[in-house]
Symmetry: none
Subunit: 232 residues, 2 copies
DNA sequence: TGTAATGGTAACCGAATTGTCATATTAATG
DNA sequence: CATTAATATGACAATTCGGTTACCATTACA
């Protein structure tokens, strides 16, 4: 088992809390990202999308509740599991009534044990969800469950690697992926493969996408890598 | 591995503390700048921007808290990580409540170990942030993540070097960069390239920016180098 | 076991990129 | 205004980078 069980972003304005939580998470084998406010959080999410967010209910500027709603509206973060951190004084019912779209709530102060338990439960509940959600971009639809790819109306024949590659692209659009990043994300962290091999699979994927014109979605960024984007 | 892990500015009116901290930092492989007050600090920052600031909460004249706020307002220092040094007697809650915009706090007296740990954590936290934050000046927007440059509405085609050059400019605006500095910052410290080569890439960058009029942002400073600035 | 898919590598080709030089411009100075 | 220093510009040759194909190894499977 690899050391990492998932990336978790903790958004809280108190550095002390962030550190405590991070410590606990690291020891439990999660990777931990920190953000002091929603701005920072946004940057983090865009930079390196986490698998789960711990979000303080009270934040300077935009409140956690408001931010959670926004995350739910954004396509990129729509399915990102959110655990809301609330202070005991904030009556629970009231908080829940706000319907921020959080998946779970935990009341400060909380024990490490409780935190980990809830994270684990939520990840277990959500992980397959994220991995099984069909994605669609610009008439190109991929369904992880049925393992099918439809372009316009018709079925595309993809090899396993090309399928994974396309899935990765579609779930991480609009950002340049270096060959190394692609290798890590698709082949796995500890596999040694030539970087140029990526080119070949890009080629194979493009070939399949060409008849329907969807090859334009895969863009070469010279010197940097590849990008999947509906935009020119 | 190069000896330097980053430049750190320590702002404290007590020379003894400055020296102690500097010693510790140097031994840990950081370069260290000193300032006794905010005036001096400002001079240092403008002269040679550090990667992180250690700021005493109590300072003669302008307080550290006030100064931190000012640093946050200035574009040049907006994303500069700040660690506030506070005395134990200053109730923590009060300090935190001041919301100066510091990224972390450390209470005097502190151990070298703790100081280094916090610096390391903060730099780690900030580095990717800075590298992935989109920048925008005067209708010219660059996004490191998607590797795109937009002028007004439309996409600009930049080569890798021009992209890096522009990114460097946009993240270090309002200051003259000598050719040597540009070579170090963009090409890398130990690459031998003619200084004149910079001119050529400036030229290429300007050419791309010209259609939208953004070439005016890149200004020649005869005898010194180039400057990126929205002002004429 | 034989055959077809699939995956990774190497090799070749063409295009984009890059550094340098030669020459034209421009600015500073007396 | 002439002279000199510094920068801008255009052209060019070398290099790097990505696209593409061919080929071999491995696996799946009939």
């Amino acid at each position: 088992m690899p050391t990492s069980r998932g990336k978790i972003l903790i958004v809280d304005d108190e550095a002390a809390i962030r550190q405590m939580v991070c410590l606990a998470l690291s020891q439990a084998g999660y990777r931990c990202l920190e953000a002091a406010d929603t701005n920072e959080a946004q940057t983090r999410i865009v930079g390196e999308p986490p698998d789960l967010i711990l979000l303080d209910w009270m934040l300077p500027g935009i409140s956690g509740v408001e931010y959670a709603r926004r995350l739910r509206r954004e396509k990129l973060t729509q399915n990102l599991p959110i655990i809301m951190l609330t202070a005991r004084t904030e009556e629970e019912d009231k908080v829940r009534g706000l319907d921020s779209g959080a998946d779970d709530y935990i009341t400060k102060p909380f024990s490490t044990r409780e935190l980990l338990a809830r994270i684990k439960a939520l990840l277990r509940r959500s992980a397959p969800l994220a991995a099984e959600t069909p994605v669609e971009v610009d008439g190109l639809a991929l369904d992880p469950v049925t393992h099918r790819v439809l372009a316009g109306g018709n079925n595309l024949e993809l090899g396993p690697t090309e399928f994974k590659l396309l899935h990765f692209f579609m779930t991480h659009p609009e950002r340049v992926h270096s060959r190394e990043r692609l290798l890590n994300g698709i082949w796995g962290d500890n596999v040694y493969v030539e970087e140029r091999t990526v080119d070949v699979h890009i080629r194979r994927l493009r070939k399949v996408l060409t008849p329907t014109g969807h090859d334009r979605l895969i863009q070469t960024v010279r010197g940097a890598g590849y990008r999947f984007s509906p935009q020119a």
